[in-house]
């Protein structure tokens, strides 16, 4: 019983290479991390992994109308159903295929599990000097109940190219599901990449999401993470700047209620000089929800003239909600500009009175102010369709009636 046993049985049905067997064994040795691990101090997997998820692969068909509900209807669309890539677009200068085997430098237990057993995912290569006009939409649907699944994706962006993505992982039933997800993004020289994650899955879904970004000279990469749904979400977002004049931007919004849990772990590794990083995470906690933010910025000895900014602002709007916020700065260069700030608060009384004096009821005023607070991080999304859907999801979650066309 329990997830580990099911994973073990599943691994025996696979014909693993010696190398993958090693990786898998190293996962088994350590098992899933516990709250004794520093990186999982506030985040417990204990109850989750006690659940008896099925690990076998299944395949169901889904209706186009189901897809339409969650789609932005972009021309460039990759659709996965229960692990299988069922639709992939033709884009000039872009090569798209299913799962490809690649190594990752990241080797914690969960990533080893992903690297050893996962055989689903995509691989996207953008040629040099290519501007992909419309954003690429990536949809992952799970139709199987009580299912554990993994994805492993690779994005390689050639020099001087530009590309944007929006991704969504969606359950099509109310049952429990657990997804262990990994994406590696290689940003070539002078590239511009934006990756948007809409995390609005059903209320029983569990997600461990890991994104590793590797940047070369003069590249800019934005990752925007929007958490509204799901019962348990852990996001690991790692940037490694391997060239000069890189820019890494992270925007995050978590709006949680009931017993939802979300943990954003970010790590920016400044290894070269003249680079920037900007990080803005906003959290709104209602009900008995719980949030974790851990933002680490490392500035290596060679990384002079770094400008690193990190901000994590939280609103606790109920008695029982909590947030653990931990900024971590490690700076080994002397000519750098690093600033970080973390706030935990309630709504501003002056602003509340201002709105009430205009006839806006106290509940509505609170909701609108909360919307305003969270939307700052959404404003930085450059794909207008994604920004709009994020604003709508935010307004819906806070029960605010705003007009986006005025």
């Amino acid at each position: 019983m329990g997830l580990i046993n099911n994973i073990k049985s599943y691994s025996e049905t696979l014909n693993l290479s010696a190398e993958k067997k090693d990786l898998f064994n190293s996962f088994l040795e350590n098992g899933f991390p516990t709250t004794k691990d520093e990186d999982w101090k506030y985040t417990s997997l204990k109850k989750i992994i006690a659940n008896d998820y099925s690990v076998e692969e299944t395949g169901n068909d889904i209706d186009a109308t189901e897809i339409a509900k969650y789609s932005l209807d972009f021309k460039n669309q990759l659709i996965f159903v229960d692990g299988k890539l069922i639709s992939s677009p033709e884009i000039k200068g872009v090569t798209i295929s299913g799962y490809s085997d690649f190594e990752s430098r990241n080797n914690d237990a969960i990533m080893n599990l992903n690297a050893s057993l996962c055989n689903n995912g995509f691989s996207i290569t953008v040629d040099k000097n290519t501007v992909v006009e419309q954003a690429i939409e990536i949809l992952f649907f799970t139709t199987t109940e009580n299912n554990f699944s993994q994805y492993r994706n690779l994005i390689i962006v050639g020099d001087n190219s530009e590309v944007k993505f929006v991704e969504r992982i969606q359950n099509l039933n109310g049952a429990v599901s657990f997804v262990n997800y990994f994406t590696r993004i290689n940003c070539g020289k002078n590239t511009n990449v934006e990756f948007n994650k809409i995390q609005n899955n059903t209320s029983n879904s569990i997600l461990i999401d890991n994104v590793d970004v590797y940047q070369e000279n003069d590249s800019t990469c934005d990752v925007n993470t929007l958490i509204f749904g799901g019962s348990f979400t852990r996001n690991n977002l790692n940037f490694e700047q391997n060239g000069t004049n890189c820019e890494s931007n992270m925007n995050g919004v978590s709006v949680l209620d009931d017993k939802q849990f979300a943990d954003n772990h970010t790590f920016v590794d400044h290894k070269q000089a003249h680079c920037r990083s900007n990080e803005l995470y906003k959290g709104v906690y209602l009900g008995s929800s719980k949030g974790v933010f851990n933002g680490k910025i490392m500035v290596r000895p060679d990384a002079q003239k770094i400008d690193a900014f990190q901000s994590n602002n939280n609103l606790l709007l109920s008695e029982d909600s909590t947030i653990d916020s931990k900024p971590q700065l490690e700076i080994y260069a002397d000519d750098v500009k690093c600033s970080h700030g973390c706030t935990i608060g309630q709504l501003d009384d002056e602003a509340l009175f201002y709105m009430r004096s205009r006839g806006i009821g106290v509940e509505e005023a609170k909701a609108v102010l909360t919307y305003a607070f969270a939307s700052e991080a959404i404003d930085n999304i450059t794909v207008s369709e994604v920004r709009l859907v994020a604003q709508k999801l935010l307004a819906k979650k806070l029960n605010v009636d705003l007009d986006f066309n005025l």
Binding site: D349, G359, G361, D403
Partner: protein
């Protein structure tokens, strides 16, 4: 319309208003003047319902109902409007969405459907013209990065959209240059009808050159110590407040 009776109020143990009596009828404009710290803004805040002020005694009758029994939003629904001395910045909410929410919350309280978008846009355009506001302004975030003058103009714009029965303009002239002052005053004048009333709170006579009051009251140390017609404002401008406040201090000593 408004009848304030022996109003005493303050913050914590500090009494600021020490027995205010004031009656305002529909169609009238009253100016409340007085030196800094006399209680002008406190009076405005208490009428609007700011919760940090404690009312110890008195009544604020507004069209037959005691405002002190109502929440700030209920007072707004009845037609009370306060133009803030320091309007609050609300990043993330556009001017248009803010105004739309205010209007529709008021309509909801009156049992009406939300205002149709077309009607709202028409009204927005009309009032923007009245106050010489350009179009880009609607999509800006509420008061964020606005100059002092823009903030005040935004207050009067909201007033024009909400069409209150009683408008209280708290130091609306501060931060305005002469052109902006003219535009704002002109807007206020155009919004005047025989059915609504305005309280203009100001330190200086300047604004009253443009918004002509029917009555002028001098507030000092929490009391109205002198009332008169519009000529009183001119007299104050010439002679300052001392001649009135000294006399009052003797009386209340």
């Amino acid at each position: 319309m408004l009848k304030i009776n022996n109003l005493k109020a303050g913050i914590e143990d500090n009494q600021i208003l020490k027995g205010i009596n004031l009656e305002i009828k529909a169609g009238e404009v009253h100016a409340i003047m007085g030196p800094n710290g006399s209680g002008k803004s406190t009076l405005a805040s208490v009428i609007a319902g700011k919760e940090e002020y404690e009312v110890e005694e008195g009544k604020i009758d507004f069209e037959g109902e005691d405002l002190l029994d109502l929440t700030p939003e209920e007072r707004a629904h009845k037609g009370v409007f306060l133009s803030f001395q320091y309007p609050v910045e609300i990043p993330g909410i556009s001017v248009s969405n803010f105004i739309k929410t205010s209007i529709n919350e008021r309509r909801k309280a009156a049992g009406l459907e939300p205002m149709p978008a077309k009607e709202l846009l028409k009204k927005l355009r009309e009032k923007m013209e009245l106050l010489s506001i350009d179009k880009g302004y609607l999509s800006r975030n509420m008061n964020e990065g606005f100059s002092g003058g823009e903030k005040k103009r935004n207050e009067i714009f909201q007033m024009a959209m909400l069409e209150p029965k009683l408008a209280i303009l708290d130091e609306t002239d501060s931060g305005l240059d002469i052109d902006a002052l003219r535009i704002v005053a002109n807007g206020v004048n155009k919004l005047r009808t025989k059915d609504n009333a305005t309280i203009v709170i100001t330190h200086y006579q300047r604004l009253l050159d443009y918004i002509i009051p029917d009555f002028v009251h001098v507030l000092h140390n929490g009391r109205i110590v002198k009332s008169g017609g519009k000529e009183l404002a001119l007299e104050l401008d010439e002679k300052g407040y001392d001649w009135i406040t000294k006399e009052a201090d003797k009386k209340w000593a």
